[in-house]
């Protein structure tokens, strides 16, 4: 499972293998930690500043109150 998460991060997982990985990332905290740590490793190697994972939790919490708007384009500056 962990090796598949690693391959999915790199867009190297066969299409038919993806659904169970996404499900495990949805339900298993350990799988989510692997997702975070493997990304953190790559970002640290590239010299990116480390963000608190409480920060991403804050964003995720706020996203729960946001709805997808099919008419909204974030790159259309005439509609803010």
């Amino acid at each position: 499972m962990k090796e598949k998460i690693s391959a999915y991060i790199d867009s190297e997982l066969a299409a038919e293998e993806i659904d169970p990985i996404v499900e495990s990332l949805r339900h298993e905290p350990n799988a989510r930690d692997d997702w975070l740590l493997y990304h953190l490793t790559g970002d640290a190697m590239r010299g990116h500043s480390t963000m608190d994972d409480g920060f991403s939790k804050g964003i995720i919490e706020r996203l729960k109150t946001v709805k997808i708007d099919p008419s909204y384009d974030p790159l259309d500056n005439s509609k803010v």
Binding site: K2, E3, S6, A7, Y8, I9, D10, S11, E12, L13, A14, A15, E16, I18, V22, L25, R26, R32, D33, D34, W35, L36, L37, Y38, H39, L40, T41, G42, D43, A44, M45, R46, G47, H48, S49, T50, M51, D52, D53, G54, F55, S56, G58, I59, I60, R62, L63, K64, V66, K67, I68, D69, P70, Y72, D73, P74, L75, D76, N77, V80
Partner: protein, 200 residues
């Protein structure tokens, strides 16, 4: 890459559009450091960087239907981040009175304020600890694992390209990259727990 493999960002966006909201959370974890890095070139205080990064993700989620895959998702997000930073700066400029520098009475020259580093001490410490941990573990890894993960993370090569460089099967590349990540994660995991406890 095998022809049946799927771009992970596009797959997660597709799932988000279908209503699987948690898959956008995975995109947040995946891209937050890149996005914050971009925004930190325009906005200087750590709190403002976090606010603008959050705002950019909110805009991206709200407008996800407008992403049609004509560019990479990371490029689209990058543009949203830059726009959010520029909007933030414009709003700040309209709110803050024009800067008038103080004059040094001895030299009669304007006093230039020092540029404030955009990293808080806690974040600097965490960044330093994590990058030191990653480099220390990397140094000790067997050469074939170190080369495989470097070609992937730094040079951005696909598994097939790495297999050509390292003259080994693609499956071996996949395994080497995973083993490298897992070796680093084992050492990083307790640090992650420590940062969570500190709630910095």
């Amino acid at each position: 890459m095998d022809s049946s493999d799927t771009d992970t960002d596009l797959d997660l966006v597709r799932r988000t559009k279908l209503g699987e909201r948690h898959t956008f959370d995975m995109l947040v974890v995946r891209h937050q450091r890149m996005l914050a890095q971009v925004i930190s070139r325009y906005v200087k205080s750590p709190q403002q960087i976090e606010d603008v990064t959050q705002e950019a993700f909110i805009k991206a989620y709200r407008g996800i239907m407008s992403f049609r895959g004509e560019s990479k998702f990371s490029t689209w997000l990058y543009r949203i981040g830059v726009n959010a930073a520029l909007s933030f700066l414009a709003a700040e400029r309209s709110r803050i009175p024009l800067y008038e520098p103080s004059i040094n009475p001895n030299t009669n020259e304007p006093i230039i304020p020092q540029i404030v580093d955009n990293e808080s001490p806690d974040r600097l410490l965490a960044t330093q600890q994590i990058s030191e941990t990653v480099s220390n573990v990397l140094e000790k890894l067997p050469e074939e694992l170190r080369i495989a993960i470097t070609l992937r993370e730094i040079d951005g090569l696909s598994y097939e390209e790495i297999a050509n460089v390292m003259d080994c099967p693609v499956g071996t590349v996949r395994s080497r990259i995973f083993r490298a990540r897992e070796s680093i994660s084992k050492v990083l995991r307790p640090k992650l727990e420590m940062f969570r406890e500190k709630r910095w």
